[in-house]
Symmetry: C2
DNA sequence: AAAACTTTGCAATACTGTTGCACGTACTTA
DNA sequence: TAAGTACGTGCAACAGTATTGCAAAGTTTT
């Protein structure tokens, strides 16, 4: 019988290898977005590059999305089941200036914006910075 | 008699050295935001680190603001005269997915957002990505 | 079982940003 | 003006993150 993790991976056309299961489960447990380095820390002996490529595969298949919060390390978080990272699926992210944690604000979609003449919208990265509930 | 550049620098309490004048004028000429590397290219023989520190000084004194557009290199653009990079001064930036140029959308302020309970707003980095007028 | 393809581990590398230190220049003050 | 001090610049080294080539190990297909 197949586990829940395997189903989630296959749902997004990702072959569920051991590595991928583990990385998925790490991301699933978290409330916050994780950097490559933070994921690496959760293992005893796994290759940065393997995790890197795992994350790339996940991202290419819309299992996760990446957030560049300006801290220097890109962070990753799970997408919703039906997400394809199209404009309508985008949400705002919050970086705590104190603890450095980055959160998905899934209830705050990226607002529609009227761009100046000639500019077309494809994608967005909206990061709000401030203090999180834990740090105040 | 003092030049326009010197006045701009002194207005923000920056001593106008030769280096600083040149970097300022490079930024002033541009319609788009420039990376450290791009600025370096405009000189024959200047030190990365000197430009780096020049930009840091500029930023500390609200002469320029930085934009992390996710391309890996932070970009810089001039602030308005009265800017102090407070929430009200923030605007959205546009990164062209084709040519890689990043523009200040100074007429698009960062919208006020109601954050979830417990989160406070200090700052923001909103980047819209798409195709710019030149590339379509 | 062999061939073909995919995933992983290892090592090396690229790129951007950042710092220590020494030297030179500009400003301050006696 | 001369000495003393603060500031700015150049050079070199380093740190952190992302990324790639290549070969070994594992998986799937014929
Ligand atoms: Mn998110
Ligand atoms: Mn701007
Ligand atoms: Zn926090
Ligand atoms: Zn363009």
């Amino acid at each position: 019988m197949k586990g829940k993790t395997d189903k989630k991976l296959e749902q997004k056309n990702i072959k569920p290898t051991a590595m991928r299961q583990l990385v998925y489960e790490i991301l699933e447990k978290q409330k916050k977005a994780l950097s490559l380095y933070e994921i690496e820390q959760q293992f005893d002996n796994v290759e940065r590059s393997t995790i890197f490529r795992t994350l790339k595969t996940f991202q290419d298949n819309y299992l996760i999305h990446s957030i560049d919060d300006g801290t220097g390390a890109v962070k990753y978080a799970l997408c919703d089941d039906d997400c394809t990272c199209k404009p309508d699926d985008l949400h705002i992210h919050f970086l705590c200036n104190k603890c450095g944690q980055t959160h998905c604000m899934k209830d705050m979609p990226v607002p529609k914006m009227d761009l100046a003449e000639g500019f077309s919208f494809e994608n967005a990265n909206f990061v709000v910075k401030g203090i999180c509930p834990n740090c105040r």
